[in-house]
């Protein structure tokens, strides 16, 4: 890969800076909806500029293998960008297509940036974590301080059942909070606003992996990041968010006390496989229930209420039915594959097969993607999620640097998956009716960037082009392509 040598030596610092800067912008959500549109496009070009760094660490056959393995990811990116829904959702088809192209480029771009950051020698992994954490901390602190000033401490509990009037309409004060969106604060649902502090709070158990005696600064920083995120949820309090932290914390706790080598223990593989089968089976049952003229799941004792029309699974059933069937009850092949089309009537009101957007939205990102982007996107997303678990396992077992550092993006990804699977809100704003589709948010870009960061295919073997430099008490990795620099290093 000598042909890239000059390029790599000349531009590594610039691209390291740009990559980190974009990580910060995306984590902070700078510029809101307009900002992310621009960042997607610029991000893609930065990603292209990073490709030589990735290529220099891998042989052609390795790259070829990765690309084949990433075909479901490419299908996902294209199907998230383009669908019947998104081609008909815009007032102008041309502007819709342009916007959809930026979605595809953004998803691919941020994934490459994530992976590219690991391939640039000038990027210390601690800097990646500090940038990521710092941006989330800044956003969380700004939002939390403003929220405290406007509502007071524990207002969700203190003012439960109370309403306020705005524009002649009553709003339950305990169901909203402030969020920095674009260049100002807006009122939004708790689930939408709390994703950033939630991701930050996911970092907290990483402190279990660091000895405060050996590396007090790293310990303190991780603790601070996690506590700021957790505090932001507690001061409201957002109880659902706190409960959703449980699986993340449990995973971190269990992983802390099992011995992980290059290969996972059999019991872990079996547990993961069984869990995967249970989830797939559950989804299949949900699909079958949706195809029945009368739901059998609603008749279940105790659990039946969760499948009622307005309940969590009931809304999913409505979304599945709208994806598979036309309004006359016959199978709708186009919407099944590519998602539902939007109908705009002469008065400007939009609907999907007679449903309003709010009636079809579920609290699960995966099923919102099903009715908006179609079954192909849904399957590609499912494969991508399972792949992420595999990559994360590989990354934790074989990745570069300290385990505590590697755990941060993995926990955030796990947290994001748990959170968005049950608490996705795509009509989150209280006083404006903007549609904030999960596939169009900066948070999803951040998730793909994190996915790129943990992307570790099983056969991945970095070439030892760069000599790893390690200081302090850390054990150097023999095949490192970047330095692991403890946070207390003075330079």
């Amino acid at each position: 890969m000598n042909k890239w040598k000059d390029y790599i030596e000349r531009y590594d610092t610039v691209l390291a800076f740009l990559g980190l800067e974009f990580l910060a912008f995306i984590a902070f959500g700078l510029g809101g909806a307009s900002g992310i549109l621009i960042f997607r496009m610029i991000g893609f070009f930065i990603a292209i500029a990073m490709i030589p760094f990735i290529r220099s660490n891998h042989s052609n056959s390795e790259i070829k293998g990765y690309l084949i393995g990433l075909i479901p990811f490419l299908v996902l990116a294209i199907s998230l960008g383009f669908s019947s829904f998104w081609l008909t959702a815009y007032s102008s088809t041309l502007s819709g297509i342009v916007s959809d192209i930026t979605i595809v480029l953004g998803i691919v771009g941020f994934f490459i940036i994530g992976y590219g950051l690991k391939s640039i020698k000038a990027v210390k992994f601690d800097l990646v974590l500090l940038t990521l954490g710092g941006a989330l901390v800044l956003l969380t602190l700004i939002t939390s301080i403003y929220t405290l000033a406007r509502y007071g401490l524990f207002y969700v509990v203190n003012y439960s059942g109370m309403v306020y009037y705005w524009d002649g309409v009553v709003f339950p004060v305990s169901e909203e909070t402030k969020v920095l969106f674009g260049w100002g604060f807006v009122e939004s649902s708790l689930s939408y606003a709390c994703l950033s502090p939630f991701l930050l709070a996911c970092v907290l158990p990483t402190a279990l992996y660091i000895s405060p005696k050996k590396d007090i600064k790293r310990f303190a920083i991780v603790l601070l990041f996690g506590l700021i995120g957790l505090s932001a949820l507690v001061i409201l309090p957002y109880i659902k968010g706190l409960l959703l932290l449980t699986p993340v914390y449990l995973f971190a706790l269990i992983y802390r006390f099992i011995k992980v080598k290059n290969e996972a223990p059999h019991w872990l593989e079996i547990t993961a496989f069984v869990s995967m089968c249970v989830i797939v089976l559950g989804i299949l049952v949900l699909f079958v229930d949706s195809f029945m003229s009368e739901s059998f799941l609603t008749k279940l004792p105790v659990l039946g209420r969760y499948f009622a029309d307005a309940a969590f699974f009931g809304r999913i059933r409505t979304a599945i039915q709208a994806t598979f069937y036309k309004t006359n009850g016959s199978f709708d092949f186009v919407s099944f594959l590519f998602g539902n089309s939007v109908i705009t009537d002469s008065a400007g009101y939009i609907s999907v097969k007679g449903y309003g957007i709010s009636e079809l939205l579920t609290h699960s990102l995966e099923f919102n993607i099903l009715w908006q982007n179609g079954f192909i996107a849904f399957v590609a997303l499912t494969i991508f999620i399972f792949s992420m678990f595999v990559w994360s396992r590989n990354y934790l077992a074989k990745g570069e640097g300290l385990l505590s550092g590697r755990l941060v993006p993995v926990l955030m990804l796990l947290g994001a998956f748990v959170y968005l699977s049950v608490s996705d809100d795509e009509l989150p704003f209280v006083h404006i009716s903007d549609f904030a589709a999960g596939t169009r948010t900066s948070q999803l870009c951040l998730i793909f960037l994190l996915a790129g960061l943990v992307y570790t295919p099983k056969e991945s073997k970095f070439k030892p082009e760069a000599v790893a430099v390690t200081t302090g008490n850390q054990t150097p990795s023999t095949n490192s392509t970047f330095e692991e620099v403890p946070l207390d290093e003075k330079k």
């Binding site: 405290l148 109370m162 009037y165 002649g168 001061i235 008065a347 009716s433």
Partner: protein
């Protein structure tokens, strides 16, 4: 500085702020307050007065708003709401320019009372919706106070400033149910300029079961308040609108626009900082209710502080100072 002091320095302002401000929780209500809560008709009444307007009265002036100096509903006393479709007919006939809306091409077109049968964008009952598409089409959404200044969007009185001029199945979400003591409130800003005042009203009664409703006659007092810096007291300017005929219980959609132009009284509205509305029943002799299964005439009262079987209230939907400016 010691570490503990540094931490204290960071935490103290943080917690102080959480205790003192709370700007978004200073006007909260029970979830069902004023919107159908309670067991009786009287439970929904709104009779809140801003205390300075009660306690700090200064100079008082009154004006009689005679029929020729006001506009009242459709202009047809037998059907003040114009069958629910033309509640602003009298304004249109007397001041057609008031409902003209300029287009980009230099022409203008009249604003409708309803557009495609609606006064606002369709939404679920009690759910907020963006009504911007109706600006330039519907009178209420074009002239509403919250469009002039966003500060009118806050608080319970935003019901009166959101352009919703009839129920649209919103029931008591849409209006304030006033008893004869009315209400008095300060505006979030001071009025600089306005040509006229208007309000959307109808009668409301608990004489349930009387299909078709009736006409009721009200004597309404609309007062404006100014606060001269020299006297530091609220000067009150009361406009008496006597014998206003409104439809009661015909339908929650049968509302009327009632108001007057300030020029007709040589009254300068500049400096208005608050307003109040009180009223009394002039005539409600058509009120009937089923008693022991027989439809019989009944006496209605607008004094909800005194127990009565039947009440007549003024249902106030909207307050306008169209095209006004505020400081």
């Amino acid at each position: 500085m010691k570490k503990s002091k540094k931490i204290l320095l960071i935490l103290v302002p943080f917690f102080a702020m959480s205790l003192v401000s709370c700007a978004d929780t200073d006007e909260l209500y029970r979830g069902d307050q004023y919107i159908g809560g309670g067991d009786s008709f009287a439970d929904n009444r709104y009779n809140v007065w801003s205390s300075p307007l009660i306690d700090d009265a200064g100079f008082l002036t009154t004006y009689d708003v005679t029929a020729d100096k006001r506009f009242s509903g459709s202009g047809d006393d037998a059907h003040p709401s114009g069958y629910g479709m033309n509640g602003y007919g009298d304004l249109v006939s007397k001041h057609p320019e008031a409902v003209e809306y300029p287009s980009d091409d230099g022409t203008s077109s009249p604003l409708q009372w309803l557009y495609n049968g609606m006064d606002k964008e369709p939404s679920g009952i009690g759910q907020w919706v963006d009504n911007t598409p109706l600006v330039g089409k519907v009178y209420g959404q074009t002239k509403k106070m919250s469009l002039i200044d966003s500060s009118f969007s806050k608080g319970i009185l935003s019901k009166l400033y959101n352009g919703q001029i009839r129920c649209d199945a919103w029931s008591s979400y849409a209006y304030l149910q006033l008893d004869q003591h009315g209400y008095g409130a300060l505006f979030p800003k001071e009025l600089s300029q306005a040509d006229y005042f208007a309000m959307v009203v109808r009668g409301g009664s608990n004489t349930e079961g009387t299909i078709g409703g009736r006409l009721s006659t009200f004597d309404i007092q609309v007062s404006f308040y100014k606060f001269p810096y020299a006297t530091q007291k609220y000067d009150k300017y009361t406009f008496n609108l006597s014998q206003i005929k409104l439809e009661t219980n015909v339908s929650a959609e049968n509302t009327s626009l009632v108001g007057f132009y300030f020029d007709d009284f040589d009254f300068d509205p500049e400096g208005i900082v608050g307003m109040s509305i009180t009223y009394s029943i002039n005539d409600d002799s058509d009120a009937k209710a089923y008693i022991d299964g027989v439809l019989q005439p009944v006496i209605t009262s607008s004094d909800m502080d005194t127990a009565s079987d039947y009440y007549l209230c003024l249902m106030l939907y909207e307050v306008f100072f169209p095209d006004s400016t505020w400081n």
